[in-house]
Point group: D2
Chain length 295, copies 4
């Protein structure tokens, strides 16, 4: 079992840290919101009084923060953690941030002799609680292998996407594609239903045909077609429209840096912005189905 | 074994009729292009001298024509086949046409007491030859069940989408969604590669994640990622851009009739038109990958 | 002064006929809704008891109907007006319909020796009342010149776009472009305002710069920037979203026939469909500004 | 006459500085590319040996650089010019950069007591040479008024858009709208021509109707409709596709910061990226017409 520092105990980080405790690791936790450490303390975590305290005497440090700015500010600069992390510690940042930020921090870590990987996740709060997250990792093969047993206690699919930053790139590519196929699925279902088809029948036909995709497989956006998906509980829970917009923003930034054309992803992002404007920011992203409702 | 009339022996109809012969049916064939009947005759088909001749003394009549106008002209009007088809004959139109045309012809058939289904296919020329087509059927359950054993000799997946026209609706919904996910997959792959990822690694990550879809599963658009797909033979063969544009046109017409919004499908159609303008009309539709190539 | 038959006395046709009366013409009117003829009768029109009665003993026949289906049904077929119109009569159809319908009717007229032009208008109800409509005419130069003095009593700009159907084509091209520039203007204004600019100042800068367009010139979509435009009266009146969607549908049909790519117009149409779904169908089309409101 | 320092003598800056010399100002110039100073020296400019040297003993300092990174690096940091500019000097940055960069530099200037405006231009190289540029200014009214007589020697339209950064915001809003109306105009023209209209006739009809916009007025994208525009010289010269893509990138960044939806501008940007991929990066942006050419 390992000694692990964990910084960032929000909706995702909290249950991830809990799963590490359950697996028998010794976990030292920190969050700027004091209250978030309490449930972890009850579960056996040591509470660090500062981020700096969370990185001492640990073999692995994991961070799970909202955005690039938080990650850069945590690790970089004169008062950043990279100034005090023991080079023997493996650093795992599971935040979803800009690839360029991930590369910047990983490069700074490397200059200090610290091994660091970017390991953004997919699977949402449900996956974090269940320990079934997908980790998409960027960094050296050695670092990926060192992280593997720890990540395996929080998730079930571990991918090595490439060098530093590659985890972030792969995640935003995936989520851009996800936004496209969810939106496309929603408009295809509405067209079929408006022309008289049963949404469940049409879903099944497309699922088994060349329109088959993850949404039709496990996350159907039409209410009532599948049980236990957000569409069947008024789009509560799941992956919020606000978060999809954030991830699509990262994709657009990456596309602008790379000079690549992303017409479908760009359109999906603008549709999601319109959808948020209609009050769906805190609903699951499959609620885009509502945008296409027949009049 | 059944006595079958078959009208329309093009790239799709030819091999479909051949498979019926192989299955032991007695097949009477007709095409306005004389030469197309010859290989069928060699395989044991009777050649009818006119469309009218092809419908006499058959239990099932199958037609496979290019577009709505041909189907309407074949069946409707004073010289149309519905005037001479025995009501005991089951009529199966496998052409991909406008749902409104399918309904019009099926309604006219019904008024004559003739059972008719629309049964458009997916699976392309390869599926037609291999006998692995997907049939998506609109019509009564009785007619669908009558057709089932015949269709099973030409395809492997048989779906009953609903009443008359529903087969066409389901097919164009599926193909609209297919155009969206292929285009979205292509742009996601290019973004990832432009940011340094390996296309095969990224494909595998997305395939197993929430970006998973039919294209990543069996029809990867990036050259060399999969063997035996059009992308790995310079986009030759497969499902032509020209045909995708035709199907997307049917989807747009249906959406206009229904008053539904299809922003992603509309954009995909316009991108495919631009792509055709670059000379890709006779290439496989996964060649949309070329549109996103990095400069 | 001329003897004129006028069929179709709705929001547009009514005031157009009134203006002909004011100009001193002798006008015989018909509408399937009886009540619509009453105000015209008060203004001096003769009321015809049928469409057929409206075409006898007139030098010019004008029709103003909602859609292609009405125009085809009025003029074509055994009971259609073309069977009874005196070849000396000039026929002017001012309905906005599919170019292919306009060509079909004009061709049928021509076969009877009847001169016919398509003369769709822009300028809305306000322009119809004020007699300041724009007429965009398709047909022979001779017919255009014969119509000119009559049209001039209802409008102020008369364009000859080309042969039969060309009036319809030019109108739908114009309206497609209009939808694009209105939507583009709305999103540019919102972007500027969200970044701190005054909408009036930004409007003025763009109006005088390369972003200059008709919307900024006379129809600003931002409430309060211009007086006497729909945006400054809660988007009441003007050119309804429903009608813009109708015209964009005609544009999409024409683009599909021609095989041309119209990505911007297609997107604008889909955005207008989403906008209608939010309850704006009966509001002026500049209300698309509301779609872009900041959250 | 004023003493002016001018940094950045590229395609735009060079002729701008020349016009200041022609107007009688004393101009001290600097560019990191030595050769660019030579024509200015011939015209009477003093050549500074460094950027630092260009800011001493001048009343106004003007900079014209390619991108945000250059402007920030010129003015900010320990070796930045703001450390050495006399607070009595008015600083005018005419580069087109991100509004956030403009605000950052202007704020830093303000903290040193230096008045600074952002004054990006439109009008292209032609306008720079002719002295007919449009300046869109962000900054205090006082600073704008101080700059006015100098700007008037290089341009003919001067707009005050608002506070620091507002010049950049207004420019990118304008150029985003410009990309939309040019693309929309191009596709409308192609649709009309494919349906049989004469491009010049259609252009004239739309120009005088509600489709009227700057492109139809002075910059028609269809070859041969207007003389002396890029479309009539194989799209040479003018405003390059590459530069439009750059400006649209700034617009997308601003829209992401503001959280506003810009579906039309986003689509136009992606179409321009596709267009560049076809080899049009160094052609005028009205060459987007070629994307819509009929097959």
């Amino acid at each position: 079992m390992a000694k692990i520092g964990f910084i960032g105990l929000g909706n995702m980080g909290g249950p991830m840290a809990t799963n590490l405790l359950k697996a028998g690791h010794s976990v030292k936790v920190f969050d700027i919101v004091d209250d978030l450490t309490k449930p972890l303390a009850r579960d056996g975590a040591t509470v660090a009084e500062s981020a700096a305290a969370a990185v001492t005497d640990v073999e692995v440090l994991i961070s799970m923060l909202p955005a690039s700015v938080h990650v850069e500010s945590l690790y970089l600069g004169k008062s950043g953690l990279l100034e005090r992390i023991d080079p023997a510690t493996l650093v795992v940042d599971s935040s979803t941030i800009a690839p360029s930020s991930a590369v910047k921090v990983a490069t700074a870590a490397s200059e200090k002799g610290i091994a660091m990987i970017d390991a953004p996740v997919s699977g949402g709060v449900g996956g974090a609680v269940a320990g079934t997250l997908t980790f998409i990792v960027g960094g050296s093969t050695e670092a990926f292998e060192r992280a593997r047993p720890i990540l395996a206690d929080m998730g079930k699919n571990l991918f090595h996407a490439g060098d530093a930053g590659a985890g972030q790139v792969a995640k935003i590519c995936n989520n851009m594609l996800l936004s496209v196929l969810m939106t496309g699925t929603a408009e295809a279902l509405q067209l079929g239903v408006s022309k008289g088809l049963d949404p469940a029948v049409l879903s099944e036909i497309m699922r088994k045909s060349s329109g088959g995709n993850w949404a039709l497989e496990v996350y159907n956006p039409w209410p009532g077609v599948m049980e236990n998906v957000p569409a069947s509980r008024d789009y509560e829970g799941g992956f919020l429209v606000d978060l999809m917009i954030k991830d699509l923003g990262l994709a657009m930034e990456a596309a602008m840096e790379a000079g690549t054309s992303t017409p479908m992803g760009s359109l999906a992002r603008n549709l999601y912005l319109n959808h948020r404007h209609q009050g769906f920011g805190r609903k699951d992203f499959s609620s885009i189905q509502k945008m296409f409702e027949a009049d």
